[in-house]
């Protein structure tokens, strides 16, 4: 059942010098997103996401970039490391204020579909045999009764029935007619500069959950599931995971200027927000920060999946250490992530940049307001990314040593991680406002080995979203899950990548969403293994 389809040898980076290869790879279009020197509306500040999706099942990752008003989303097919714009041929031409993207094979036909969220009408793109897409939002029952400010999203199988349901975060209620303008009230200033108003002072909205009824249609179950109950949160980034280990998927939502949410899945179709009591809503000082993006990963090797959230400038990004049963302690300072406070963080992801078996962190940044250029302060609109190297459960900012790719300043938002050239080294796809995307490679001397897993559900959903994996190699174990959504409004590779250090093989244990468990031993390093769930 295990099939080897790539044997590319050992590859990794010792120094991991980053370099932006987007232009060489053909990613040259500029993606508009509001004003570049000033912004009138908050809507101009929040877009947009990026995605790595293998839409044509050719075993390499294609790139999808979401655009704000004035442009269109674009799909780029990966042709051996160069990207060809296939937007029109794929039926994906679009317009409007695109926000987020998340992927999953919701109809279990073997081809990855995806949702694009909007301020306005969301698009559910059904993948037609890897050749083109059709927007089926209307026929799937995903049209909304009013204009909503949809942001992060994730496919998940919350009822473990084998098909993917859909969570969509909503930021706030916004329209051009009633929203105040810069300087209109005290919440329309930043450091005495009139700026776009909000989120404080603007009306809250509620999040949405759609149940997949199995026939290509979704039913809005936001109210009866309890998802719509929290009504005082400005929701942005979304990530899913089984944080309390009960076999049911939970949902974490990074919220701006309000407590973040941790919806615990009760198993009877209902969710309850327990973020405050579980210690994942606020920072250690009890303050609600400006949550933007969110990542999940086991940073300290204790087999419990932790949560990392990016926040605003003058705040620290927040690392929540999972105590093992879904209760969290803030571990930002003890993990060494307290010194960077000048950046507004957005996309974020755990990945093993040097394949040493410890998940590192990449954060992409950019201020909300271009107007900060006029401030006599050390805050800039375009900001560098941050690569935190994980040294056995404690992080160090790689700083200049991370190389020019990480040091480049951008007004970054979305970040997707994935090994687009299948060389065993994960790359970063970054969507920045009013710029071409950045494609960051981490090149260095090959040293450590790796393994990647592509899972395919049978009884479980075909994308295997929610599958929990433990990889053991060289005496160490790592855990991760297949996730839709995450980072900031973005979709990373659905395959899982593990650095193995010097190990030449690994043992893999899989807990599928169906409950089926599988153990595979001695899988060879340096390749991607396709693993299919045992038939019921």
């Amino acid at each position: 059942m295990t099939r080897l389809f790539a044997a590319l040898g050992l590859a990794a980076a010792a120094a991991a010098q980053s370099v932006n290869v987007a232009a060489d790879a053909g990613l040259t279009h500029i993606f508009p997103n509001g004003g570049d020197e000033s912004k009138t509306w908050i809507l101009e500040t929040t877009g947009s996401g990026a995605a790595w999706i293998d839409y044509d099942n050719d075993d390499d990752l294609d790139a999808f970039i979401v655009s704000g008003e004035g442009g269109g989303n674009r799909l780029y097919r990966n042709d051996e490391g160069r990207f060809a714009d296939v937007t029109a041929a794929a039926g994906l031409e679009s317009e409007g204020w695109g926000q987020g993207v998340c992927a999953g094979d919701y109809d279990n036909d073997g081809y990855t579909d995806f949702l694009v969220t909007y301020w306005g009408r969301n698009r559910l793109y059904r993948n037609l045999a890897g050749e083109r897409f059709v927007d089926v939002a209307a026929s799937a029952g995903l049209l909304q009764d009013r204009v909503r400010y949809n942001t992060g999203c994730a496919f998940l199988d919350y009822d473990n029935d084998g098909d993917l349901d859909l969570f969509v975060a909503n930021y706030l209620k916004f329209d051009f007619e009633t929203t105040p303008r810069p300087g209109d009230n005290p919440y329309c200033y930043y450091r005495s500069i009139p700026t776009a108003c909000g989120p404080r002072g603007l009306p809250f909205d509620c999040n949405l959950l759609y149940r997949n009824d199995g026939e290509g249609r979704f039913t809005d179950v936001s109210n009866e599931s309890g998802i719509a109950a929290p009504a005082r949160n400005y929701s942005l980034g979304v990530i899913t995971g089984d944080w309390n280990g009960d076999g049911r998927v939970d949902i974490y939502v990074a919220c701006d200027r309000t407590p973040s949410l941790l919806y615990i899945n009760r198993g009877d179709g209902k969710f309850e927000d327990e973020a405050l009591f579980r210690g994942a809503a606020l920072d250690a000082d009890g303050r609600a920060l400006s949550g933007m993006g969110v990542a999940a990963g086991d940073y300290n090797g204790d087999a419990a999946v932790d949560i990392f959230r990016t926040n605003f400038s003058d705040e620290r990004a927040t690392l929540y250490r999972n105590r093992g049963a879904g209760d969290f302690d803030e571990a930002t300072l003890s993990a060494g992530i307290g010194r960077n406070t000048r950046y507004v963080g957005w996309g974020v992801g755990f990945f093993d940049v040097d394949n040493d078996g410890w998940k590192d962190l990449l954060l992409v940044n950019g201020h909300v307001f271009p107007e900060v250029a006029g401030l006599a302060a050390d805050i800039r609109y375009r900001q560098r990314s941050i690569l935190y190297r994980n040294r056995g459960g404690r992080f160090e900012d790689a700083g200049e040593e991370a190389g020019p790719g990480v040091a480049e300043p951008h007004a970054a938002r979305g970040l997707a991680l994935g090994d687009y050239d299948n060389d065993g080294q994960v790359e970063a796809l970054i969507n920045s406002q009013n710029e071409p995307p950045a494609l960051i490679r981490f090149d260095g001397e090959p040293k450590n080995s790796w393994i990647a897993l592509k899972l395919e559900g049978v009884q479980s959903n075909r994308s295997a979203i929610g599958a929990h994996i433990r990889v053991t190699a060289g005496g160490r174990s790592q855990v991760d899950s297949v996730r839709s959504g995450g980072s900031y409004l973005s979709q990373s590779d659905l395959r899982l990548h593990f650095g193995l250090g010097q190990a030449k093989s690994a043992d893999v244990e899989i807990r599928w969403p169906s409950g089926i468990r599988r153990r595979l031993t001695n899988l060879a390093a340096g390749m991607t293994h396709r693993i299919t769930e045992a038939a019921p």
Partner: protein
């Protein structure tokens, strides 16, 4: 003088009519005079009302004179109106006369009289925008006067630099504030609180990690001058936490709570540090004390809830969560009207 609000005017006119009937004077003239006053036509109002023996008419004559800058002529009438009108039956005339008199006193730099008047008005009309405005204006004038005298009479004093730095801080100009604090320190390196303020401004000026060390040096200097400064100890502890020096941070927090056993923030931070070490009993003790000392502190309650939870005292944790939930409820703010307008609030 600001015009009388539309809400107040009808009541004044009713009062004027009733008063005129009881004293057999020209009610029409008094009504017209008050209307003219309300429209800001003070000279015409004064002419209409002058000569009337009606005490309300005399009050408006005085207010008209004050409004046209003749405080000397107005003062007696304003004082009489303020003293004679009952705050229950004629609160608006008393309020208007009191405000006019206070403005005159401020203009004359009779700050003590002005303060007495404004204090009376503030206790009678605590939510009145005009009274609050005049009070703020009074303090601004007094502040400006004091600053002017300071710059004039003691220009070489380090206090001039300190004050300049504090003003820059308020404006968010932290680099300028740092420069002025440094000048002040240079002039008087032994002044209490200067190093502390400089350290704080350094933290506000820069997000660079190097600023932490620079600020820490200033807090240390403050402690050398004033070994009983618990707040400086606390600031050093927070910097050490960021630097990952957790043991040293804990020592400084211990110092802070020893110096000031009622220092809620330090108690909270120390409780949190002990909780991380699973020293539940002392952590609980400190955090309970912090929450009791600062019943509105979300930080103290949040950490108390977490230490109960981590110590396995779930019921106690849930009790604290209830209090925390209440603390987190947003108060009605200035956007209530906006939210009502767009239908988000009843």
């Amino acid at each position: 003088m600001p015009a009388i609000s539309q809400v107040v005017l009808p009541a004044l006119l009713v009062l004027a009519a009733a008063s005129a009937q009881s004293q057999s004077v020209r009610p029409q003239s008094i009504r017209q005079g008050i209307e003219l006053f309300e429209k800001g036509r003070y000279t015409e109002a004064e002419a209409e009302l002058e000569g009337s023996s009606d005490k309300r008419a005399r009050a408006f004559v005085a207010m008209s004179r004050a409004a046209t800058g003749r405080c000397g002529q107005a003062a007696g009438g304003l004082r009489a109106a303020f003293d004679n009108f009952n705050k229950k039956s004629d609160p608006q005339i008393r309020r208007l006369a009191g405000l006019a008199l206070a403005r005159c006193r401020i203009a004359e730099k009779s700050f003590v009289d002005a303060l007495t008047l404004l204090s009376s008005l503030a206790s009678e009309f605590p939510d009145d925008g005009d009274v609050l405005y005049e009070t703020a204006r009074f303090h601004l004038k007094a502040w400006n006067g004091a600053v002017e005298r300071m710059f004039d009479r003691a220009p070489a004093s380090f206090r001039v630099n300190q004050l300049s730095a504090e003003i820059f801080e308020i404006r968010g100009q932290f680099s300028e504030a740092v420069a002025e604090y440094r000048r002040a320190v240079e002039k008087n390196p032994h002044a209490i609180n200067l190093h502390y303020r400089l350290g704080r401004a350094l933290l506000m000026e820069s997000h660079a990690p190097e600023a932490l060390e620079a600020a820490r040096r200033e807090f240390e200097a403050e402690i050398r001058l004033n070994p009983s400064d618990a707040v400086a100890e606390y600031q050093i502890a927070r910097i050490l936490e960021v630097e990952g020096e957790h043991e040293a941070a804990q020592e400084r927090l211990e110092n802070a709570v020893r110096l000031d056993p009622d220092f809620s923030e330090a108690l909270t931070a120390l409780g949190r540090a002990l909780s991380a070490q699973k020293s539940w009993a002392r952590a609980v003790d400190l955090l309970e004390r912090a929450a009791a000392l600062a019943p509105q502190s979300e930080s103290a309650h949040y950490n108390l809830m977490l230490v109960y939870r981590n110590a396995g005292r779930e019921a106690a944790a849930l009790e604290v969560k209830k209090r925390l939930d209440k603390l987190q409820e947003s108060p009605d703010g200035e956007f209530t009207d906006f939210l009502r307008r767009i239908g988000e609030l009843p």
